[in-house]
Symmetry: C2
Subunit: 191 residues, 2 copies
């Protein structure tokens, strides 16, 4: 079964015909490791479904320090969604950490697809609800959980990702230093 | 104009007739100051639009400390949306900080309303997109902004709310102590 079909049917019912119709609206794109799928300060009219590979979205602050906002692996969606939803310019970079194969869809194409396969509007609403839930969880964790607890949540959310990304990237996702992350890892291996 | 109509037309086009139809699906409910609209460990099948009043959602950690997740004033929506979306039990309390008048809608009623006035499905998708944007902003702020900067963002997001809520509640939203909040406020008044 196509990975996107598997992914969609986790949320909604869709017929094989509807899925085949839908798939035609997506474009398969290839990016090399280290390529930037999105740069800061651009308009963003596409979102991407990951067929293969691993990506990271991050922002650069005034001191050019990187802050990791999201990772994406197979069956995740990635974009600068704030820019995508609002029409404002992007603040994020989306970088390929490996060679990547993505399915790309344009915002206006997706609107047309909703008309042809209305059930997909429900699918994307569900995805937004799930994002709401995971964002709220991350905000709550930031309010009062320890770095150790947040690290444990991270490896639950992103199973098997640790081998695919660099330590400083995980540290910057958690808002801690790479040294703190190493200490936490040692503790959790001994614990 | 009805405040809910004003609020909806900021996002989508809706006719007076469609709005009148929609309004019948909502129930107007009154809560006294200090009443709990939602308690932790319950099923949540309603969301609320604030006609009048001020509310706060918070969670209690293992040490019974309160952590403020959201405030809501006129024209905001409030619920434990994680519980509402997923069907899991609530982890939040939603408390009235003033006497409140709310419009309440049941999840299954809203699904029926979508069928009658389909444009509202788009409206609620837009609201979710906006929530996504503001959550992501808050996560990014937590990653690298100072408490001062996060306080400034708070008063931009919730204008005029400071007179309506208590200092420790704002502090617990920002994840800082009430003492730090007082210091930041003094600095920002002198600055």
């Amino acid at each position: 079964m196509h990975p996107l079909l598997t992914h969609i049917t986790e949320q909604i019912n869709i017929t094989e015909t509807e899925f085949a119709q839908s798939l035609e609206y997506f474009e398969q794109v290839h990016f090399k490791k280290k390529a930037l799928v999105i740069r800061a300060d651009e308009l963003v009219d596409r979102q991407f479904f990951v067929l293969k590979g691993c990506l990271r979205s991050y922002l650069l602050d005034d001191q050019e320090r990187e802050h990791t906002v999201q990772f994406a692996i197979e069956n995740w969606w990635v974009s600068d969604f704030t820019a995508y939803f609002t029409g404002a310019k992007s603040i994020l970079y989306v970088e390929c950490l490996e060679n990547c194969v993505l399915l790309s869809i344009h915002k206006s194409t997706l609107e047309r697809l909703y008309k042809e396969v209305p059930t997909l509007e429900k699918f994307f609403r569900r995805k937004l609800e799930n994002a709401f839930v995971s964002f709220q969880k991350r905000i709550i964790s930031n309010l009062y959980k320890t770095a150790e607890e947040r690290y444990q949540e991270f490896i639950t959310n992103y199973p098997n990702i640790e081998q695919r990304v660099r330590n400083y990237q995980i540290a910057s996702y958690l808002g801690i230093t790479p040294e703190s992350l190493s200490r936490i890892r040692k503790m959790s291996m001994n614990g």
